[in-house]
C-alpha cells in the first residue's frame, strides 16, 4: 500500500538525496491521492497543483546540480487556511474572506518556501479556527479518513485528514484550545503544539492572540521535530516570538526515557465521559513507558477543572477584538446592497459573512469585556490562568513530563454535537490547559479503539522543553510500532489494483 505519498518526510528526503525518487514524482503521488480522495474527504479548500509542480521541478533541478538541500525541500506540505499565503486565496474557513488574496506570506510559510518546501494546497478548517470538529467551516465539513461518517476533529481537521490519508506528507495547523492535537488524535497522526512564541504568529489569522500557536501535523515524531526545526525561531515581526537560539529538535530524539519522571494525570483518565477504548489505550501506553524505564507516578492539576471556563472567557474576548477588522472596507466580503451608510455596511457584511459559532464567540467576548463585566469575567479568567500555570509549575517540580489522553473520545459522528455548543467545547478539556499555560504538548497515536478509530496519547512538557516531550514521544512511538492506517487507503489500493 505504501505509495510515495504514504511515506514519512524523513523517508522521502532520504530518497531525494539518494536519487531513488525525484521531487516531481513525490508531488505527483500526493496530487494523485488528492484527486482520488478529496471529493470524499473535503480536506482541501484550494489545491495549488501547478505551483506545486513548478516548485518540485525547481527542487529536482537543484538536486541534479548536486546541491545539498534542507530537510524539508521537495516534500509536499499543506497549510491550514488560517495561514496567509501571498497570491493564494486564504479564507480562514469563512465566507467573509472568500475573495481574500493576501499580499504577503505568513512567516512559517516564508521560511519553508525559502527552504524548498512544496505547497500542495490550503486545508479546510473550522471558521477562524473556532471548533473541534471542522463542522464550522463555511465551506462544508471534512470527513475523517478512518470513517467518512465521522469528524476529523478541529479546528485543523483538514490538515489532519490530509496527512492521515496521504493528501500531504505533512502540514501546519494551529492550536488555540487543542486544534492541532485533538484532530491529530482523531485522525491517528502526530500533532505537536510547541511552546507559545516558539513559532512566529505573523501571518496567522488571529483568533485568540495569547492562546494561538502554530503547530505541526505529521506521520512521525521525527517528522514533527524536523518540521518544527525548519520554522521555529525569533521573528522581528512578532513581538511575542521567543528570542531563543535556533535548535535542531531532531537531535537527541533517541535518548530514550530511562529514569524520566512521568506524571500521569489520572483524574483526567478516570473522568466521566472518557470512552473506555480511550482509557484502555492510554493506560496501556503508560505501562509501556514504565516498561521502557520511566519512573511513573500520579499527578494532578487542581485548577484544570476551571480551565475550560477560563478559556471560554479569554478566547472569545480576544477574538471579538481580533475579528473587528472584518468590516467590508479594505478586503474580503462586502455586503452593501441596502446599506444606507458605512456602519450599515459593517452590520450587513458581518451578519452575512460570519457563521454561527463565530458570531456566538464574538458576542460572548464583547459581553465579557463590556463595561461593568470585565473584572468578573475576563479579569477573573486571567487570574484562573495564573493558577493553572502555577499548577503546571508545581507538577513539573516532581515530574519531567505529564501524560494524559488527548481527547475524551475517539472521532464522534458528523452532526452529533452541532446542536449543543457546550458538548462540543468539552472535546477540548484535556488540551486547553496547555494553551492557557503556553507549555508544549504533543499527541501521538497509541492504538485503535474497538470502534476502529484511533486514540491519541498526550505528552505535556515544561515551558520551552520541546526536546523532552519529543524524545518521550519518539521512544513510545518506536516501542508501540503502530502501523494501522485508515481502511480507506487499503480500499483505494485495491481500487487501483
Amino acid at each position: 500500500m505504501s505509495e510515495l505519498c504514504d511515506l514519512t518526510g524523513q523517508q522521502l528526503a532520504q530518497m531525494l538525496r539518494t536519487g531513488e525518487a525525484g521531487a516531481s514524482e513525490v508531488t505527483e503521488s500526493v496530487l494523485g491521492r488528492i484527486e482520488a480522495l478529496d471529493t470524499r474527504l473535503h480536506a482541501f479548500l484550494t489545491v495549488t497543483a501547478d505551483r506545486a509542480r513548478d516548485q518540485a521541478a525547481g527542487i529536482d533541478a537543484r538536486l541534479r546540480h548536486g546541491e545539498a538541500l534542507p530537510a524539508v525541500a521537495g516534500i509536499p506540505l499543506a497549510l491550514k487556511d488560517v495561514l496567509v499565503t501571498r497570491g493564494i486565496t486564504s479564507t480562514a474557513g469563512s465566507k467573509i474572506l472568500e475573495p481574500y488574496v493576501p499580499p504577503y506570506d505568513c512567516t512559517p510559510w516564508a521560511r519553508l518556501q525559502t527552504a524548498g518546501s512544496v505547497l500542495v494546497g490550503k486545508t479546510n478548517c473550522d471558521e477562524f479556527a473556532m471548533g473541534s470538529s471542522n463542522e464550522n467551516s463555511a465551506y462544508g465539513p471534512v470527513h475523517n479518513p478512518w470513517n467518512l461518517e465521522a469528524v476529523p476533529g478541529g479546528s485543523s481537521g483538514g490538515s489532519a485528514a490530509a496527512v492521515a490519508s496521504g493528501e500531504a506528507v505533512w502540514a501546519l495547523g494551529t492550536d488555540t484550545g487543542g486544534s492541532v492535537r485533538q484532530p491529530a488524535a482523531l485522525c491517528g497522526v502526530v500533532g505537536l503544539k510547541p511552546t507559545y512564541g516558539r513559532i512566529s504568529r505573523f501571518g496567522l489569522i488571529a483568533f485568540a492572540s495569547s492562546l494561538d500557536h502554530v503547530g505541526t501535523l505529521t506521520r512521525s515524531v521525527l517528522d514533527a521535530a524536523t518540521l518544527l526545526s525548519a520554522i521555529a525561531g525569533h521573528d522581528p515581526l512578532d513581538a511575542t516570538s521567543l528570542p531563543d537560539e535556533p535548535e535542531d529538535y531532531a537531535q537527541g530524539l533517541d535518548r530514550g526515557v530511562a529514569r524520566l519522571r512521568v506524571g500521569v494525570l489520572e483524574d483526567w483518565i478516570a473522568m466521566e465521559g472518557v470512552q473506555p477504548g480511550v482509557t484502555d489505550s492510554v493506560g496501556a501506553a503508560v505501562d509501556r513507558l514504565g516498561a521502557l524505564g520511566a519512573s511513573v507516578g500520579a499527578v494532578s492539576l487542581p485548577h484544570a477543572e476551571y480551565a475550560l471556563s477560563a478559556y471560554y472567557l479569554i478566547a472569545p474576548a480576544e477574538c471579538s477584538s481580533n475579528l473587528a477588522r472584518f468590516d467590508g472596507v479594505r478586503y474580503g466580503l462586502r455586503v452593501d446592497g441596502d446599506a444606507t451608510d458605512v456602519a450599515d455596511m459593517n452590520f450587513l457584511t458581518r451578519g452575512a459573512g460570519f457563521g454561527d459559532e463565530v458570531k456566538r464567540r464574538i458576542m460572548l467576548g464583547t459581553y465579557s469585556l463590556s463595561a461593568g463585566y470585565y473584572d468578573a469575567y475576563y479579569g477573573q479568567a486571567q487570574k484562573v490562568r495564573t493558577l493553572v500555570i502555577r499548577d503546571f509549575d508545581a507538577a513539573f517540580e516532581r515530574f519531567d513530563v505529564l501524560v494524559a489522553p488527548t481527547s475524551p473520545t475517539t472521532a464522534f459522528r458528523l452532526g452529533e454535537r452541532t446542536e449543543d455548543p457546550l458538548a462540543m467545547y468539552l472535546s477540548d478539556i484535556f488540551t486547553i490547559p496547555s494553551d492557557l499555560s503556553g507549555t508544549p504538548a504533543i499527541s501521538i497515536p497509541c492504538g485503535v479503539a474497538p470502534d476502529g478509530l484511533p486514540v491519541g496519547f498526550q505528552i505535556l512538557g515544561r515551558l520551552r522543553d520541546e526536546a523532552t516531550i519529543l524524545r518521550t514521544a519518539f521512544a513510545l512511538e518506536q516501542d508501540l510500532g503502530l502501523s494501522a492506517r485508515p481502511p480507506l487507503l487499503a480500499e483505494l489500493a485495491s481500487e487501483d489494483a
Partner: protein
C-alpha cells in the same frame, strides 16, 4: 463689579511624533505623500499581522513627559481601545489606558504678568488613524454620498497630553497651548504644525458661579485647527455658558464643533452617548518597563526648554520680558538672535528688528524664519550701519525689505539703492547755512524758544539732500549755528 462666574478649561492635545517610521510597523512616517503609498499589511490591518513598537517613539514620549515635569511610570501597558470607524484599519486603536507612560506633570503659563501652574494629568502613546475624505454631494460630512480612506497616516505614533482643568480663561488656554507647542518644538520630537495636523487640540470648558466647588456643565469643543480658532472658540463658548447661567437656562453636556467661518460652536454629539471601548491589555505587546538609567540619561540630555531659554535671554542680553518671549519663542528664533549678536550687533537692537520689521515681513509672506533669505548677518550689518549713522532708520527698513526679497548682502543693497546717509557735518554745512538763510520764520521761532521749530528746518535739509542727510546730524548742526 466682581465677576460672578469662573471659567474652567482643560486641554487635550495630540502630537504626531516625527519618527522616521510608524508606531507599529516600518512604513515611512511622512506628510503629504500620494494616498496609500506609505502602507503595508500591518498598518492596513490585514488579517494575521502583528504590531511591534517603535523604540524611538517611546523615547520621544518619555522625553516629552520629562520636559513637562512628569513622573515616568516604572511599568506601562498598551491597551486596545475597541470601536468601529473606517479610518481605523483594525477597528481598535492600540493606545494606553490605566498605565500610561508619564503622569503628574505641569506647565507654567504666563498671561499679562501673572503666572499659573497648569497640571498635566498624563502623557501617553498611541497610534494615529487614517484620513477620511467625504465625497459626493456637498463634500461636507452632512451631505456626503460616500467617503474615501487614505491610510498613510494610519499607525503614525501619536502622543496625547491631557491637562488638568486648571486654566481659568481662554487667554490662559492660549498661553498653555503656545507654551506646550514651544516645548515640543524645542525637544525636536514633532513638526508641531497645526495646519498639517501634527499638533491637534480639543478643549473642555465649563463655567460655574464663584464659590461653587462642583464643576458646571462640561462641553467638549472639537475642530480647532489653529491657535486663533482655539482662542475664539473658547471665548465664544465661555460667553455662551455665562449667558445661559445668567438667564437660568440649562446647558447640556455635549461635544460641539467650532465653525471657523461662522464664528460659532454648533452641537455635535450628546455626551450621554457614552462609548464602551472595552479596554483590555494588548495581548500582542509586552509591557514597557523603562530602565531607570536610560530615563536619567534622557533627562540629562533634555535641551534648553522655552522657559529656561526666555530667562537666559532676559538675563544675558538684558532683553525685557516681552522681547525675550518673542525672540525666545523657538529654537530657530533664539539661534538667529544669538548669531546676530555674536557678529557684534547690540542685542536690544537686534531684538527690536526681529520682533518688529522682520516679524512683519515674515507674517506677510507667510514664511517661517528658517525659510527666509534673511540671515543673522543681515541684521548685524543693519544695526552696525544705523549705529554709525551711515543709514537712517527709514533707509534700513527699505534695505531689510530688499534683503528679505533677494537675500543680497546689506552693503551691496545700500550702495545699489543709494541709501547711504550723509552724516559728515562738513558736507552738510553748506546746505544747513542755505536752509537757515531761506527759512527766517522757523529760525526766528526757534531763537524765541520754540524748540519744535527745529523739525521744520531739519525737514528742509532732508528735502534739499533728497532724504540722504542724517537728520540728527543735521539737527545738531542747526542748533549749533542758531545758538551761536
Amino acid at each position: 463689579m466682581p465677576d460672578p462666574y469662573e471659567t474652567v478649561i482643560g486641554l487635550e492635545c495630540h502630537v504626531e511624533l516625527a519618527t522616521q517610521t510608524k508606531m507599529f510597523c516600518g512604513c515611512r512616517n511622512a506628510f503629504g505623500a500620494p494616498p496609500n503609498t506609505n502602507v503595508c499589511p500591518v498598518c492596513l490591518g490585514h488579517p494575521g499581522t502583528l504590531p511591534v513598537p517603535n523604540e524611538r517613539a517611546i523615547e520621544y514620549t518619555i522625553r516629552i513627559g520629562l520636559a513637562l515635569g512628569c513622573r515616568i511610570a516604572p511599568r506601562s501597558v498598551f491597551h486596545r481601545k475597541n470601536y468601529f470607524y473606517p479610518d481605523m484599519p483594525k477597528n481598535f486603536q492600540i493606545s494606553q489606558y490605566d498605565l500610561p507612560l508619564c503622569v503628574d506633570g505641569h506647565l507654567e503659563v504666563h498671561v499679562d504678568g501673572t503666572s499659573r501652574r497648569v497640571g498635566i494629568t498624563r502623557v501617553h502613546l498611541e497610534e494615529d488613524t487614517g484620513k477620511t475624505t467625504h465625497a459626493g454631494a456637498t463634500g461636507r460630512i452632512g451631505g456626503a454620498d460616500y467617503a474615501l480612506e487614505d491610510y498613510n497616516r494610519a499607525g503614525v505614533p501619536l502622543v496625547e497630553v491631557v491637562s488638568e482643568p486648571d486654566m481659568r480663561s481662554p487667554e490662559e488656554a492660549r498661553a498653555y497651548f503656545t507654551e506646550l507647542r514651544a516645548t515640543l518644538e524645542s525637544l525636536g520630537v514633532s513638526d508641531v504644525r497645526m495646519e498639517e495636523g501634527s499638533l491637534r487640540c480639543d478643549a473642555n470648558i465649563s463655567v460655574r458661579p464663584i464659590g461653587h466647588s462642583d464643576l458646571g456643565t462640561k462641553v467638549e469643543i472639537k475642530n480647532l485647527n489653529s491657535i486663533r480658532s482655539l482662542y475664539r472658540a473658547l471665548k465664544f463658548e465661555e460667553e455662551r455658558h455665562r449667558m445661559a447661567l445668567a438667564l437660568g437656562q440649562a446647558l447640556i453636556q455635549e461635544t460641539r464643533h467650532w465653525d471657523e467661518n461662522g464664528g460659532v460652536t454648533t452641537h455635535g454629539r450628546s455626551k450621554e452617548y457614552a462609548f464602551d471601548y472595552r479596554y483590555f491589555p494588548e495581548p500582542d505587546l509586552s509591557p514597557i518597563e523603562p530602565d531607570p538609567d536610560w530615563v536619567e540619561k534622557l533627562r540629562a540630555g533634555l535641551p534648553e526648554l522655552p522657559a529656561a531659554r526666555r530667562a537666559r535671554l532676559e538675563n544675558e542680553y538684558r532683553l525685557d520680558a516681552r522681547q525675550a518671549a518673542l525672540v525666545g519663542g523657538s529654537r530657530d528664533w533664539a539661534a538667529f538672535f544669538e548669531e546676530a549678536v555674536g557678529l557684534g550687533a547690540e542685542p536690544k537692537a537686534v531684538a527690536n528688528w526681529m520682533t518688529g520689521d522682520l516679524a512683519g515681513l515674515l507674517n506677510e509672506a507667510r514664511l517661517e524664519l528658517g525659510a527666509a533669505l534673511v540671515m543673522p548677518r543681515h541684521l548685524s550689518d543693519l544695526v552696525a550701519l544705523i549705529t554709525s549713522g551711515e543709514v537712517s532708520s527709514a533707509g534700513a527698513k527699505s534695505a531689510l525689505a530688499e534683503a528679505f526679497a533677494t537675500g543680497a548682502p546689506i552693503p551691496q543693497i545700500v550702495e545699489e539703492k543709494g541709501l547711504r546717509q550723509v552724516s559728515d557735518a562738513g558736507a552738510l554745512e553748506a546746505i544747513v547755512d542755505e536752509v537757515i538763510a531761506q527759512n527766517p520764520g522757523p529760525v526766528e521761532q526757534f531763537r524765541r524758544g520754540k524748540d519744535g521749530a527745529i523739525n521744520a528746518l531739519v525737514g528742509k535739509v532732508m528735502k534739499s539732500t533728497g532724504g540722504s542727510a542724517n537728520p540728527s546730524i543735521a539737527a545738531d548742526l542747526l542748533r549749533r549755528k542758531l545758538s551761536g
